[in-house]
Assembly symmetry: C5
Homo-oligomer: 321 residues x 5
């Protein structure tokens, strides 16, 4: 689906142009053509390939989807794959944004991703002095937008870990905690798949030999890299804390087993000892004087109660019950 | 076994040629000779060595098999070892493809591998403009085919992990889960042996100093590398999730032990308390008024039932039974 | 909030100057302007940006806060972000110090950090020969101060680990130990977030291509790097020991479970065996000679006591009670 | 002990020479002197040092033994230390081979190693065209022989792991399994000590700046490196699988504990319930009609049997017995 | 405390000289001044700083102590910090040796370290041809001495691990084993702090750009590096085996718990079954023929004994008792 197809000059919007006119505009170096597609059909992609003269392998990647995040040079142009990560119901939904960047054009292809980049275009159109910097700046703005959307995701994961930690030490049912920790791990892995390859790739956009379309913007791309580093560091810490939390939770489960055993044994003792005494007075010896006492029966019951009271206080003191 | 032995010129098939004619064709630089062997005898390999002038050490590697995946330069020619991984019954079957690539020849030797590369040859013959790019392109096509066959394997492993995860949290018998997780780990290790060395080696085919036969095709070999990276990342994540799953499963086993202990103790209490009461009324004291009551016996049974009901409701509330 | 705004010349304080005069002083290369802000308003930052001519992206970072530690070059000037870590009540409070360093100015912006750098300024003013070395030396002095404040934090963590270790082996309640170890891990992660990125970044201030404002001071910045290395090594060891302590604690919990089981079973046996004997003499057989003995009852009690004594000594010897 | 001391020329054996004649032969560049020692006395080593002009530090290393595998250059000559690993009884025996390689001599010193290198010399003498390549080729042949002997060791370890895995899932006694896994880990560590440093060192013999005596043989030394890589990869996988196996075994032990608990509790219930019923009919109430029934006693026994049968079937169904 | 202060020329001792004469001797390039201090006062260090012209930051490091091992260049001179590790009572005592090395002087400062370096000096004075190589050789000799003293420490740790392993499998009390393993881990960490930073730093003394005072001695410093590598490898293996041992020990503890449970349950059964039978014959049914048998009582006892014998043999066979 074609979302937008606009030609700019000197940072200002000229007009929405039809797809067939793209190649004509791209031929004029003072123009900037910025096209946005969403879940395109193979035909739409083929049309774009023809108009922009895109490389076969890159178009194939955009068509198939399920690429890992990457930044590849094809001659003068760049092919960038970003992962979008969106909270959808209980889980994380991974989408892709494939961006083709040439000297004076940008084609962004959004796949399986709900939230668009209208805001990015609006900001660029509001500030012509930024858009004037050309296709590289548009790439920066798109990457910046995608990366900024990782922050609420990682913060949500951090909050969920903290909530789970509290449950761990508050003694909440362990089965739910284990499931929660495992779920966190899964989603963290998803986020990591989006961030880590991009971190590596984006470091090549601002230091050393930089692709032509990104030259002149090192501070901006370093900023993107820096944000990715921060997210990556948070992911690493979360992974580490998750592993620790799983181990700690196992310790607490073992501990609870131990406490359960003690408590049960205490109650068991409170029953077993009177049972023994009852057994004693159930013996059939002829010469058992207590059996003849007027208060023999209450006496026996009293002894049972007394011993249980004493045991109870002992167990209480030892923290077993 | 000789599978194919064909001479090409300008991307088009000339003819099937006999083995003895190979050296003659190879001498003519405009020709391309593409030979495929399957589980060859030492004699067949020796004949090939003579015709193509292959290096002794490379031929020895192909003869012995059990090499790790690698890409080695011998002067102008390349010796490439790939692992094929095929689902066979319950397990994974690892085969090898050794490829000798010279300026204008390709010799592929398939060992312990069921599925051939007829499709690769068919595609190349259908598209002469591709085959015209020479021996390097044939190498790319073979590597691409081998690597693409890893995807269904890794996807099958991912699905099996997901199925096992569901079983873990659904409380399926833990012994089967442990065996399943261990089996997954084994197969993952097998796949990793195929992928990781190749990932490392293939990075040298498109950046920096590139072997002569691969020059001019950097976009293609980067594509292979990129697919391998993706598989490798999936393997890493699977390994990580497997480790977590094993730990989580251990937590759940400990937890179940705890729950079993509680449940058993609850049932034990339901038996022990009436036993105590029965013991009390089995005592032989003379002055036990209850023994003489007309309804003494039902009264005792009633007390037992009442206490058990109360205990049961307590245990139920505490989630022990 | 403006804390200080001072102009220096040849290492000596000239005067406190108003914010509006900054740009005028900075224009004179023999001057050094050193400004300190604390939790500034956006307006204060904007004024500074205008006076010093700071880069938009760097100012934005200082405004938003929550950056990771880093050292970035913007043309001739440096933008440095440091984390301050302060013990506050039970936990660690992380603050930030953003430092803008130009050829002849230093602007430090302290955020969410209680303790200031008055001591650093006082030391610099006391020793003009140091301050004369210019803005680079002020940066060194600030970094040195921030890094030196990490040492008591890491030492406090080490002491807490040692105290917890003692508790582990002294058999203190395991739940508290688990919580303590987990808390240590959290705080260590916090400290690590402050130290590790800075370690990496600071290595670029003394070897190879060094930013202009730091040139001529390699020994000083290597000293900072060295202190960071030491802290980082301590963090690594603490992490490692913490993981080991968590595992060891789990072993001890399992062990205690085992000991509890043994002790309980021992006491159980001391009750069960007399119960059996009482049961025997509660049988209603006609021909049970003991029942008729004059001392049958004391005899039975004696046997019970004797067996229990013997069992007790056995359990004692086996270390079960 | 002197094993061999032979002079060669143009790849052919000239004669066995006495130790005193070595220096004379070494002076003639067209000669190749190849000496083999086994567990030499300090005096023998001193004689060799004098004849060959070996470096003091290298000779000291050979004298002391217990070096890690390494390849060191001393001017024009190489000093190589290899570990031999031999199966001896139940464990692995580590020996050392120190090789001094000069422009036209090779001195190999075998320490604590049973199996010699007579085969290597025989092969070299059979194929003069190989031996003609000089001292570097002899070094290759020795390294190749040592490395090839690692393969059966690692295969034996792999087989033992597989056997242990089968035992794990077949439910063999866990204590023996734990010991077996630990023993495997120990031996793997031993093998790793032999392989890993050599892997690293041998990579310097075929790429980049290569020591003079190895120049001209890059394909051969790459072959050695490749074999070492393969062994190293197998070691890594074994380590990984061992760790997993230890964890998995722990899970199964916990699981078995759980199953034992369930089974025992089941048998306990089969005894406790009839005990309760017997207790009921041991009560001394006057109005217990069942006591007077003619078939009261068999009726009670029947109830006990019926309940136990019912319980048994329930436990059977639940998989507890 | 001043230990030694000696001037040498051409490798031979000239005389013990007073501290005040140091600067005069150092001015003469053919002299070598070698001073040794032990736990010096700040005043002694200040005197040395003045005489040798040492860098402020290096002297500050030596004064404060608690540095990590490092090798730093200050212009032409080197500042080296080594850790000494000495067995003291039950634990390891870490000391420091700070060495200042200039073109023709060596100042070694020993802190919290019992054992001195008199042997090093004696050896150097015995062999003038070595000492003649200048300050770099003295540095080598000191480093060599410090590093050689690590070997007995690591060997002691290895022996303790082996002893602990034997205890693990011999079934010694698990609590002591856990403490021993944890203690080993602590001491290993201490040793690692001494070795690892030095390993890294010392690699810069023999390859690539080497500090001036060490030039000409690459074989010697490579030897030091090699020894450190060997120790480092042993540390790595020990760490790895320790982690495995802790896990294995946990498995054995769980296993023992399982065995304890089985044994206790067996004994429990031996008591519970006769209790049931006694309960049966304690029932008050009128029609219980056995009660009237002459040998009813011995018959009942016999049944109990028979069942217990049968149970015992079953438990014995199953390995439960």
């Amino acid at each position: 689906m074609l979302v937008n197809c606009v030609a700019y000059e000197a940072g200002r919007k000229l007009a929405d142009i039809p797809v067939e006119a793209i190649s004509e505009h791209v031929r004029r170096p003072e123009r900037l053509v910025w096209v946005a597609l969403k879940d395109p059909t193979p035909e739409e992609l083929a049309a774009m390939q023809a108009e922009f003269g895109l490389h076969e392998l890159a178009v194939e990647d955009a068509r198939h989807g399920h690429q890992r995040p990457k930044i590849e040079e094809y001659g003068d142009s760049l092919f960038v794959v970003l992962h979008t990560v969106e909270q959808r119901g209980e889980g994380l939904q991974v989408g892709e944004v494939a961006v083709f960047v040439g000297r004076n054009y940008v084609l962004s292809v959004r796949i399986r991703s709900e939230r668009g980049f209208a805001g990015v275009r609006a900001r660029c159109e509001r500030e012509p002095e930024l858009l004037r910097q050309g296709a590289g700046f548009v790439l920066y703005a798109l990457m910046d937008a995608v990366v900024d959307r990782y922050f609420p995701i990682i913060e949500a994961l951090e909050e969920r870990l903290e909530a789970t930690e509290e449950k761990i030490f508050a003694g909440a049912p362990a089965r739910g905690i284990v499931e929660a920790l495992y779920g966190l791990k899964r989603e963290l892995t998803t986020l990591q798949h989006a961030v880590r390859p991009l971190l590596e790739a984006s470091s090549k956009l601002y230091g050393g030999r930089v692709p032509g379309v990104c030259a002149g913007l090192p501070d901006y791309f370093r900023d993107v890299y820096d944000h990715l580093s921060r997210i990556n560091q948070s992911i690493e810490s979360l992974r580490d804390m998750l592993t620790t939390a799983i181990n700690v939770n196992l310790s607490l489960i073992s501990l609870q087993e131990n406490e359960t055993t003690k408590r049960l044994a205490s109650y068991g003792a409170l029953v077993a000892v009177p049972t023994l005494i009852a057994g004693l007075y159930g013996m059939n010896f002829e010469g058992m004087p207590e059996l003849k006492w007027s208060y023999g029966y209450p006496f026996a019951l009293g002894i049972m109660a007394a011993i249980d009271l004493w045991l109870w206080s002992r167990f209480k003191k030892a923290g077993w019950v």
